[in-house]
């Protein structure tokens, strides 16, 4: 998947745990884990909005486009 979710970086910057973020944006820790581990197929605008609100960031801070073949390099 060429869209990478950099949620870990922003969570570390804001010193927020996964459990706390999941509670604040009203999703289950299991779903947050899917999102963090780049297993998600799509993100709802409402979820993205909640993430940006709670982490005080822009969508571009948590989402990154990487061309195929560049991942992990």
């Amino acid at each position: 998947m060429p869209i990478i979710v950099n949620l870990d970086v922003m969570m570390a910057k804001r010193k927020m745990s996964a459990g706390e973020l999941a509670e604040r944006i009203d999703i289950t820790p299991a779903n947050l884990s899917i999102l963090k581990n780049n297993k998600a197929k799509a993100v709802r605008f409402s979820t993205l909005e909640a993430i940006c609100r709670e982490l005080d960031c822009q969508p571009g801070d948590v989402l990154e486009y990487v061309r195929d073949g560049e991942e992990g390099g």
């Binding site: 947050l32 993100v43 709802r44």
Partner: protein, 150 residues
Amino acid sequence: MELKWDKTRSLTLSRILTAAALAVAAAALFCIPVAAQWYDAVSERAPIYVQLTTCLYLTDLPVLLALWELLKMLSNIAAQKIFVSGNERCLRVISWCCFAVAAVWCVLGFWRKLAFFVAFIAVFAGLIVRVVKNLVAMAVTLREENDYTI
């Protein structure tokens, strides 16, 4: 006492009928030579004992496999696992079993023209199962997309 019909009972009936068909197909393995002998006795045409016995044995194996896969799929449905890749695989195996039966009966058609009709029915059943398999495959993709939309 009023007997109410519902989805669970319908599913149970399907499982019982499939299991019974599986048992009949398994028992048929032991009766094939007798059935072929009987056919030759009642048929007024040239005997085809060897061809018919071979054909029936080669038919019974895919039939057993198809019924087994059907039983597995019904168990999945009973466990609320409906749009899963396991069911797609079951349907794919069943459709190939139908095509295998069609191929066997096509060969028998060289001795008895009526066998082509059986082959046609098997191909038709295989095609229908294949279309259903494609539908389930699409539903599996949609369900996964839905499950992984956060």
